[in-house]
């Protein structure tokens, strides 16, 4: 008897959030501007998606000033890394037909 299919994490699933999580999973931390460049999202759109991930405890933000300019850096929390790994595992299982 096969295991019932686990639903994909709805918090990660939207395209912008998935892109941001993918980038953050590969690095230690990334600046907001880098995430914006890579996702192609607008400031407001990306900011609202990142806020949702932050509220879920998947990412954490650190604000600082560099050369008198505000800089916000994001990194995945342990919880976020686990959730992302689970999400990718589920996608792979779906593709291999084991989900």
């Amino acid at each position: 008897m096969s295991r019932p299919r686990e639903p994909l994490d709805e918090l990660i699933h939207p395209r912008i959030r998935l892109a941001a999580m993918s980038i953050l999973a590969a690095v230690e931390e990334a600046e907001f501007t880098y995430l914006r460049e890579r996702t192609g999202a607008t400031d407001g759109n990306l900011g609202s998606h990142l806020r949702k991930l932050e509220e879920a405890g998947y990412v954490e933000a650190a604000k600082s000033f560099e050369a008198r300019k505000p800089v916000t850096r994001y990194r995945l929390t342990r919880q976020g890394r686990d959730a992302f790994r689970r999400y990718v595992d589920q996608l792979e299982r779906l593709i291999s037909g084991g989900g």
Binding site: L18, E29, E37, G40, L94
Partner: protein, 198 residues
């Protein structure tokens, strides 16, 4: 789920690109490769009598310019919006270590007596080979590892068969296997910095 394939491919692409973004952007290769080639050709000209150049002053200038340039590039890089990875930090440490090692070897060869000057080219070549191997391994770029092999083979040859010929040979190698890879890495980093959509 119809988009699982595309989603997984996009995840992998973004992860690979983000890891690569923290890799060397080639500017240090351009700087040090060019300066080293000029220093070697100047030394060759001085030692063969083609020009009145004192290698000790020449290399003093090369090393001073190189380290000032590296410091400046480091400061600029620190202000650029980027990502931070463990691999990127390791890479920076490895190349700084390589630079300090080569500077000390060069100083010892030119000013002290512990390192025979005829061994300098070979030693420089094998140390650079080690740093290229680390670069290739940390950034997942196979071609950089192949360049490491070239540096080692040439370095081994220069250590076994020393001579003045190693100076222009090393200058050509600096241009072909440090400046040219620097151009490739720089172009790639410029392409990566262009905005993309997911």
């Amino acid at each position: 789920m119809p988009h699982a394939h595309e989603d997984l491919a996009a995840i992998r692409r973004l992860m690979e690109e983000s890891q690569a973004a923290a890799a060397d952007d080639g500017r240090h290769f351009l700087l040090w490769g060019t300066l080293t080639a000029l220093g070697l050709l100047g030394t060759y000209a001085g030692l063969t009598g083609a020009a009145a150049i004192d290698p000790r002053w020449l290399w003093g200038a090369v090393l001073a310019l190189g380290w000032c340039g590296s410091f400046w590039l480091g400061l600029r890089g620190a202000r650029t919006p980027r990502v931070r990875t463990l691999g990127g930090r390791l890479l920076a440490v490895i190349w700084i270590g390589c630079g300090v090692t080569l500077s000390l070897i060069a100083a010892a060869g030119l000013l002290g007596g512990a390192v025979p000057p005829q061994a300098l080219s070979g030693l420089v070549s094998v140390v650079i080979g080690g740093a290229f191997l680390a670069s290739g391994a940390l950034t997942g770029q196979r071609w950089l590892r192949m360049i490491a092999v070239v540096w080692w083979v040439a370095g081994g040859g220069m250590l076994f068969v020393p001579g003045l010929y190693t100076l222009p040979l090393l200058a050509v190698m600096a241009l072909a296997f440090q400046v040219a890879p620097g151009v490739v890495l720089y172009r790639r980093s410029r392409r990566r910095s262009l905005p993309q959509t997911v």
